[in-house]
């Protein structure tokens, strides 16, 4: 347990974590002012992987911007596809066929599981356990194969289209997904045995990295980070979109506020995602995946539009300002880890360096999405 200590400001030194550090999983730099082993202040420095994604939206047409959505959060690209498709559909008033909506939900949830699996593997690797990574990547490989057979790409998906999808799913995908659900349920039990119940993991996580409800609200933290602090907020329930209202699932919430609570929330989320996929497969209607009537040229009427989706890391919002032209006048992306990261400084003060890195992992940071 990290103890708040009396820090001697004049005896501090600066330690750079990153931009090339294995624990930051990307090019994130944290300037830590240390007092011995304890952190006095942690300043995050972004900008090493800035690619001007928001500006790019202003000088390319709406369909041309779609590939960018796969490159923000490369681990849950499908949800980002969904967000962008949603905002343009709202702006242009395009109806989405029901079958397409169900397929969207299935692919997004599969992608959420694969994203959490990468997090689980990499997080336990950060804490010093190598083996779970292998199991996680083996399971994730099944999802990637399934999604590859439909979308054609393995990671940076560009699958959604305005009003529909790039192509329909086939029977092979449906049987493959059903087999995966059975396999994954077994594997989740195995993870519970191998990782969740492990005493080293518990000792490293329980009681460390405390973020309370108030702090989450002040910094705008969303996703499993907020739900691990007892905040019951999920875009899928609070501002329902797509066919989520027709599906029966729970939002896992844990009052623990520590790294272990966030860990448990993510593990439970994987189970809930499996439930969603199972129901969506059962309810999958027949029909086309693209609308019959769709404008040839996407030109949203001038105005201000907003759409939000729940990615694997939290609330992803897109605000689109259109002046009626072929390109967006302004596109603002509100990405989850950007907000989640900013509570790091306040939360890690007085923490030991090794604990702070274990805490950072529990925030599930994806740098290209934070620093876009």
């Amino acid at each position: 347990m990290s103890q708040p200590i009396e820090l001697q400001k004049d005896e501090t030194f600066v330690l750079n974590v990153g931009p090339q550090h294995p624990a930051t999983h990307g090019v994130l730099r944290v300037k830590m002012t240390m007092d011995g082993e304890y952190i006095y202040k942690a300043e995050t420095v972004l900008g090493y992987i800035h690619r001007m994604h928001e500006k790019m939206a202003e000088n390319r047409t709406y369909p041309q911007y779609m590939p960018n959505m796969g490159r923000l959060d490369y681990l849950s690209a499908m949800a980002f596809n969904h967000g962008y498709a949603l905002v343009v559909e709202r702006a242009c008033g395009i109806e989405v066929p029901e079958r397409a909506e169900y397929i969207r939900v299935i692919t997004v949830e599969l992608n959420r599981i694969s994203s959490h699996l990468v997090w689980l593997g990499a997080y336990v690797l950060d804490l010093g356990g190598f083996t779970p990574l292998m199991y996680c990547f083996d399971d994730r490989e099944q999802i990637l194969d399934l999604l590859e057979s439909v979308t054609g790409s393995r990671l940076t998906y560009c699958y959604f289209r305005f009003g529909g999808l790039y192509n329909d799913i086939d029977d092979e995908f449906i049987t493959g997904t059903r087999a995966f659900i059975i396999r994954m349920r077994k594997e989740l039990k195995m993870y519970a045995k191998l990782v969740t119940g492990n005493i080293i993991l518990m000792k490293r996580l329980q009681g460390h990295g405390i973020i309370d409800k108030d702090m989450c609200q002040r910094y705008g933290a969303t996703g499993p980070v907020a739900r691990g602090s007892g905040l019951n907020y999920d875009v899928r329930k609070n501002e329902p979109y797509s066919v989520y209202p027709e599906l029966d699932f729970d939002i896992p919430v844990n009052d623990g506020c520590d790294s272990y609570a966030r860990y448990l929330v993510r593990m439970e989320e994987m189970e809930q995602s499996l439930r969603i996929i199972e129901q969506a497969l059962d309810k999958l209607p027949e029909g086309p995946v693209n609308p019959e009537k769709k404008p040839k040229l996407i030109k949203p009427p001038s105005g201000d539009y907003y759409a939000a989706v729940e990615t694997a890391r939290g609330n992803f919002g897109i605000r689109l300002v259109s002046d009626g032209g072929k390109n967006a006048y302004r596109l603002k992306l509100r990405s989850p880890t950007y907000s989640n990261m900013h509570l790091f400084d306040e939360a890690c003060r007085g923490m030991l360096l090794a604990d702070a890195l274990a805490f950072m992992g529990s925030l599930d940071l994806v740098i290209p999405e934070m620093d876009r």
Partner: protein
């Protein structure tokens, strides 16, 4: 003191649990392939770089409308054509793909109304030279038939 012994006990138990999970993997076959000696077959929908589709005489279906060039977000397609003397239709004279900037989004394939381009299944493309990724698709189509 009691906490110490209970920690010791549960620690040993979780260690044995973990080892048992790993031990069960022992008799299983490896899930990996020894690339490059073996390689995977890609799915039919796999998106490699684009390629031209030819007709029976291996002449490209392309009519040089330039839709793909305009649809491309990164401007990686360059094509040119000319009208032969006496001919009505334009004939493709060059089609270059700069694969270094391609993001495989598929806008070009979707924008094509003449069934002239598709995704290839090519994925063994590692190289240290930039020139290897600037692909002359017309030449590729001609060579494919041989």
């Amino acid at each position: 003191m009691g906490g110490y012994f209970s920690d010791l006990f549960s620690g040993t138990k979780s260690l044995l649990d973990g080892m048992w999970v790993t031990l069960k993997e022992f008799p299983k076959r490896p899930v990996t392939l020894s690339y490059p000696h073996e390689s995977l077959k890609m799915y039919a929908r796999y998106r490699g770089h684009i390629e031209l589709i030819g007709d029976e005489e291996n002449k490209p279906n392309c009519v040089v409308c330039g839709m793909c060039e305009r649809a491309c977000p990164s401007g990686c397609i360059h094509l040119a054509g000319e009208k032969p003397e006496g001919g009505k239709k334009k004939v493709l004279t060059s089609y270059t793909l700069d694969f270094t900037t391609c993001s495989l989004c598929g806008s070009c394939v979707e924008s094509c109304n003449f069934d002239a381009i598709r995704f290839s299944n090519e994925y063994n493309l590692a190289s240290t030279r930039k020139e290897d990724f600037i692909i002359d698709l017309l030449k590729r189509l001609e060579e494919q038939d041989k």
